[in-house]
């Protein structure tokens, strides 16, 4: 409870609320795109580096590999469940449902960061390899979604004009967030605590502050998306944006229990599963499933699920993690 409140009143969440409020009041303010992208890059480098340094302190154990595997399986699996839910409860067609499902199988790195912070505040520890899990969970969901979309006979006979072999792979598996997360993780691993000491003031000390500025922008994006897109969302679709994270969290909790993860790590795996992508996957969907409607999947993931997760969701996921590890 305490964690929930101190999370809600942290500058990060307050700035997100500020951005969202400004957008809903139709303020014209905006964060320049180039600046926001630069901050996103910074945040991913910082997360990767930190994870890598953590990992360099301990040898790679079987436990770690199990968790990496669990992440991949979850990212493949969750979209199938999301797809089934969407088809059963909403009127979205096959392609829209598949595209939306892909977002929920993938992850939100900002939600992950917020959860890391909340986990720390709860007095729990978490391992650096969860960053690697985050990177691994970004893309398998896209493959599941493509298969689901194609099964309905919707498979294109010939590829879109101008598309190129390997184009989607490059776009999806070599997108900025994966390259930077994994790359920085490796850099941190190689350089270790001593080697990265000189960059600590930039990548560690500033992290929380940059996150505030970034979340102000995310609030603006979420608020504007919601204001423009909510008409396209039926109540059932909005409902999906709220219960799907909980379903994904429950499944992930099962995995975490099965592997016997410590509470902090479990909370993060659960959060990753419950979070939905709003940067990498929407971009990939424009190439892979151009017929799907961005106004649906983006509004849902950024306007509904993201705010839900960073406010109410994370405390629930931590609670879940404590439950399965018998600490609550």
């Amino acid at each position: 409870m305490d964690v929930a409140i101190s999370t809600l009143l942290s500058p990060i969440i307050l700035f997100f609320a500020l951005g969202m409020g400004a957008a809903l009041l139709r303020s014209q303010m905006s964060v320049p795109e180039a600046f926001a992208k630069g901050m996103a890059l910074y945040l991913m480098m910082a997360i990767g580096l930190k994870g890598g340094v953590e990992m360099s302190k301990n040898p790679l154990t079987m436990d770690v590999i199990l968790v990496l595997g669990a992440g991949i399986v979850l990212s493949f699996l969750i979209p199938a469940i999301a797809f089934a839910c969407l088809r059963a409860t909403t009127k979205l067609d096959r392609v829209d449902a598949a595209a939306t499902a892909a977002h929920y199988g993938s992850i939100s790195i900002v939600t992950f960061v917020a959860a890391t912070e909340a986990v720390r505040l709860s007095g729990l520890d978490s391992g650096g390899h969860l960053v690697a899990v985050a990177a691994l969970m970004e893309t398998p969901a896209i493959i599941t979604a493509l298969v689901l979309a194609a099964r309905g006979g919707g498979k294109r006979e010939k590829p879109v004009a101008g598309s190129e072999r390997g184009e989607l792979v490059r776009e999806v598996f070599l997108n900025a967030s994966i390259v930077v997360l994994v790359g920085a993780l490796i850099v941190g691993w190689i350089a270790g605590e001593k080697g990265t000491a000189s960059v600590q003031p930039f990548f560690v000390d500033l992290f929380q502050g940059v996150l505030c500025l970034f979340l102000l922008d995310m609030g603006l994006s979420a608020g504007r998306g919601l204001r423009q897109g909510w008409r396209q969302l039926s109540p059932m679709t909005v409902g999906f944006g709220l219960y799907m994270p909980l379903i994904a969290a429950a499944i992930a909790a099962g995995f975490a229990y099965a592997i016997g993860m410590p509470a902090g790590d479990a909370a993060l795996l659960i959060t990753l599963s419950a979070s939905a992508s709003y940067i990498a996957v929407p971009a990939a969907m424009r190439l892979a499933l151009p017929e799907a409607k961005p106004s649906i999947y983006l509004t849902l993931s950024l306007g509904v699920t993201f705010p839900f997760n960073v406010t109410i969701g994370i405390p629930i996921y931590i609670f879940l993690a404590l439950l399965i590890t018998g600490q609550s």
Binding site: E33, V160, G162, S163, L220, R224, A283, P290
Partner: protein
Amino acid sequence: MTKHLRIELIIERMAHKRACRVLEAAGMTGYTVLPAMAGYGNSKRWSRDTDLSASGDMVVIISVGDEAKVRATMEQIGDLLGAHIGIVTTTEVDVLRPGRF
């Protein structure tokens, strides 16, 4: 004298490389891509500073060439616009140094 046409293709930013490949494959000798900052169509608006994923952004591709080449290119652009959002116009233009196209 050969007539020259300018193609102006407004297309999704994410798909612009596909469009470029179509233009190159069809034999256009060059093109230039301009970023757009906002737009409207089908009663939806988009704006560049609004969406972190940039998945709704559009670009404008300009390509100048002689009539025959442009006509051939337009057919293939039709294929592309079957899958992606976009609109395309051609305009008759005068060029300096026509031999170059």
